[in-house]
C-alpha cells in the first residue's frame, strides 16, 4: 500500500520531468565495466585521501573491469547521508565506519552480512590473522558484518621540549602527576601578558569526544557501563573522581585553555601543534596530523607518547579506549562480488603496511604489526600496541550514540557552571538508567 503510494507519486515526478532527466542523464560506463563506490571520510583529507586514491588505482589495475569511484563524505555528514541513502535503496557500495554507530547499522540492516564471503575465503583461516577483539564490534549472533582495518588505543601525547622548559623530567604516570605537570606548564609566555600556554586540553565538543574523555574515566578505574553494557556505572565513586578531576582542572586550576567547550579533536591538535598546550590524548594519527599543521614544531622529534595516567601506578585494569576503522558493504549493492574484492584488497597486509607508511596507523592484523619492520622499530607503535592490551571498546550497543551525547552535555553543563559537577554526574547517571530501561 505504502509502496504503491510512493511509486505512484514517483512515477508522476518521472513523467513530468522527462526533459529534465534527459538533460542530466549520466554518461554510460564502458560496456562490461562494473563500478563500485567507496565512501570514507578520510578521503576528504590531504594525505589519507591521497594514500587511499593510490590504493584505488592499484586495485583497478589488479582488477580490470572494476572501476572505483570515491565518496569523501565528511564524518559529521556521514550518518545522515548514508542512512538516508541506504533506506532509500541506494548508497555507496563499500564504506568505512568507526565503532560508535556500528550496532545501529547492524540492527537496522544497513550493512550486508559478509559471512558467506568470509566462508568462501576459508572462514576461520581468513579471520585468524585479525586480533580477536577487533571482530567483536562487527559480529552479531555468529555472523560477521564487517572487516576490521585499523585498530589503535588512546595514549597520552606530550611535548617533551615544553616539559623540559617547565622542569618536568618524565611523563606523568598518575592523575596527580598529570595535574601537577599541567599546573607547571600553564603560564604567560610574555611576561606581563595574558596566560597563553596551558598544561593540557581535553575534547569537549561533539567531534571526537568519545575517545578522549573516556580515558580519564577509565584511568580512574571507572567506566560508562558495566561489562554487559546493561547498567550504568556513573554512580560509582570512580566516575565522580574523574568528573571532579576534569571540572577542577578546567574551573579551579585553569590549566586547560578557555573556550574548551568548543575544542574538538582538530582544535586540540592545533593547540598542541602551536605550542599552546603540552598534553593531549591522541594516538598514532596525532603525529602526522600535528606535523602537517605546523612542520616547525618537528612533531616527530618533540612529541612523545606515554600510557594513559592512572589513579595508582600498580593499577592493572582497563585504562584506555580502542578506536577501530572497519569496512562494510551496503546491502543495496548491485555488485557484491566486486565490492567484496575491494574490501578484501583494502584489508590485505600490503595495504595495511601502506597505511602505516602514509598515515602511521596500526593494522587490525597481527601479522602486519608483528612483522613489518617500520612498525616493529617504531617507538610510537610500541607504546600504542602495549596500550591496546589495557584498552576496551566503548559500549557496543545501539543506544550508545545517545548515551555518549547525554554524558557530554552534562559534562559541558558542569564546565559552564550551569549545574554543579555532582548534579551533572547524577543527571547523566539518571539519564543512562532511563535510556537503558527503554525497550
Amino acid at each position: 500500500m505504502l509502496d504503491k503510494l510512493i511509486r505512484c507519486a514517483a512515477s508522476t515526478v518521472a513523467t513530468a520531468t522527462v526533459a529534465g532527466m534527459l538533460a542530466s542523464a549520466p554518461v554510460p560506463a564502458k560496456a562490461g565495466d562494473v563500478t563500485v563506490t567507496y565512501a570514507d571520510w578520510q578521503l576528504a583529507q590531504d594525505i589519507w585521501g591521497r594514500s587511499l586514491r593510490e590504493a584505488m588505482a592499484e586495485f583497478e589495475k589488479q582488477n580490470p573491469g572494476i572501476k572505483v569511484t570515491t565518496d569523501p563524505t565528511a564524518l559529521s555528514h556521514r550518518d545522515v547521508k548514508f542512512t538516508t541513502a541506504i533506506r532509500g535503496g541506494a548508497g555507496p557500495d563499500v564504506f568505512a565506519l568507526d565503532v560508535n554507530p556500528v550496532k545501529q547499522y547492524i540492527t537496522n540492516g544497513w550493512v550486508k552480512d559478509l559471512t558467506p564471503f568470509i566462508e568462501a575465503e576459508g572462514g576461520e583461516a581468513f579471520l585468524k590473522d585479525f586480533y580477536p577483539n577487533t571482530l567483536q564490534p562487527v559480529s552479531e549472533d555468529g555472523k560477521f558484518y564487517g572487516i576490521p582495518k585499523n585498530v589503535v588505543a588512546m595514549v597520552l601525547i606530550y611535548n617533551e621540549a615544553m616539559f623540559r622548559d617547565a622542569g618536568i623530567d618524565k611523563a606523568p604516570e598518575t592523575w596527580a602527576e598529570y595535574r601537577e605537570a599541567a599546573k607547571k606548564l600553564t603560564k604567560a609566555t610574555k611576561s606581563g601578558g595574558p596566560v597563553d600556554q596551558w598544561g593540557a586540553t581535553l575534547v569537549l565538543a561533539k567531534a571526537c569526544f568519545d575517545l578522549r574523555f573516556s580515558v580519564v574515566l577509565r584511568g580512574f578505574g571507572g567506566d560508562f557501563l558495566n561489562a554487559d553494557w546493561d547498567e550504568s556505572r556513573l554512580g560509582e565513586p570512580a566516575a565522580k573522581e574523574a568528573f571532579d578531576f576534569v571540572t577542577d582542572m578546567i574551573l579551579e586550576d585553569k590549566t586547560m585553555p578557555p573556550g574548551i567547550a568548543q575544542v574538538d579533536c582538530n582544535g586540540a591538535r592545533r593547540l598542541l601543534a602551536n605550542g599552546k598546550v603540552a598534553m593531549i590524548f591522541g594516538t598514532m594519527w596525532t603525529l602526522p596530523e600535528v606535523n602537517g599543521m605546523n612542520p616547525d614544531l618537528k612533531a616527530w622529534d618533540v612529541l612523545k607518547m606515554a600510557h594513559v595516567p592512572q589513579k595508582t601506578v600498580d593499577d592493572k585494569s582497563i585504562r584506555s579506549t580502542l578506536y577501530q576503522k572497519t569496512l562494510f558493504m551496503n546491502p543495496n549493492t548491485k555488485n557484491p562480488e566486486a565490492a567484496w574484492k575491494l574490501i578484501k584488497f583494502l584489508s590485505e597486509p600490503k595495504q595495511m603496511q601502506r597505511w602505516f607508511d602514509d598515515n602511521n596507523m596500526l593494522s587490525a592484523r597481527r601479522s602486519v604489526n608483528e612483522t613489518y619492520d617500520p612498525i616493529t622499530s617504531s617507538p610510537f607503535a610500541a607504546t600504542v600496541t602495549k596500550e591496546i592490551e589495557r584498552a576496551a571498546f566503548l559500549p557496543l550497543i545501539p543506544k550508545w550514540p545517545e548515551m555518549l551525547e547525554a554524558f557530554r552535555q552534562n559534562l559541558q553543563s558542569a564546565v559552564a557552571k550551569q549545574k554543579s559537577p555532582e548534579e551533572a554526574l547524577a543527571d547523566a547517571h539518571k539519564q543512562y538508567q532511563a535510556i537503558l530501561a527503554r525497550p
Partner: protein, 285 residues
Amino acid sequence: MRDYYKGYLFILPAFLLLLIILGFPAVAAFLQSFNLMWVATPSFTLGSYKALASDPEFLTSLMNTVIFVTVVVSSHLVIGLGVALLLNMDLRFKWLWRVVAILPWTMPDVIGGLVWRFMFDTLPGIVNSVLLRTGISAEPIDWLGNPTLAFLSVMLAESWRGYAYPMLILLAGLQAIPRQQYEAAELDGCSAWQKFIYVTLPNLKHMIIIALVLDVIWESRLFGMVYSMTGGGPGYSTQILTLLSYKQYFQFFNVSYGASMAVVLATVLFFISLPYLRMSMRQQL
C-alpha cells in the same frame, strides 16, 4: 468577479508541484512519528508523544525555540523596519546603503554560523581580541561556553543574518504608500512621528503581518545557524527543536521519537500562525 473558478487554474501548477514533491513525505512524517515506518518492527503507538511530555531536554528545547523565535523575529521586525525607513529616504549613495543593508542575508545560515563562531572564538576571535586590546576586559570571555552568553550570541548572529528578509518586504510596502497621504498629513501639521503612526504604520500593517508570519515560520525551522555556531551547546542550553529532532533522527537513530518532535513543532507553529494567516487574508481588498 464572475470568473472566480479561473483562480484554480492559476494555482494549479504550484499545487501539483507541492503535492507531488511534499505530499508523500509529509504523510510519511506522520507515519514515522507513530512508529509505523522505518523502524525494525512497525506497530502503531503513541509512545513517542507520551515520552516527549516528560523529556526535560525536549521541554528545554521547546522553551529555547520559543525564546529564540520571539527575540529574533522581534529584532528582525524592529531593525528591518528601521532600516527600511532609512533606505526609503532620499539618501546619497543610496545603492551603497542598500547593498550593505542586505549583505548579511546573502550569507547562507550554516556559513553565517561558522563565521560568527569564529568571531566569538575564545582565543583567536575578533570580539575577544578587541576587548583585550582596548583593555575593556583583562581575561578572554568564553562567549560560546557560557550558557547565557552563548544564547545571546546565537540570537545576535541570527538577528544580523535574517533581518533583511522582513526589511525587503517592508521596504516594498513603504514604497507603495502614496505620497499624497504624507502631503495631506503635512498640511494638517503632523509631526514626523505622527506621520509614522498615522500614515506609515496603517499602510504597512498588511506587509508587517506577512513579514511576521513568514519570519516566524522561517526562524522556527532554522537549523544551520545554531548547528554550526554552537551545535546546541554548552550542554543543551542553545539547543532548539530542529536541532534536537535532527540529533534524535540522524545521530541516535530514534526515528519515531525524532519525528514526533518535528510533528509537535509543526502543529504548534500551525496553530500559532493560523490567526495571523486569517488576519492577513481578511486585510486586503
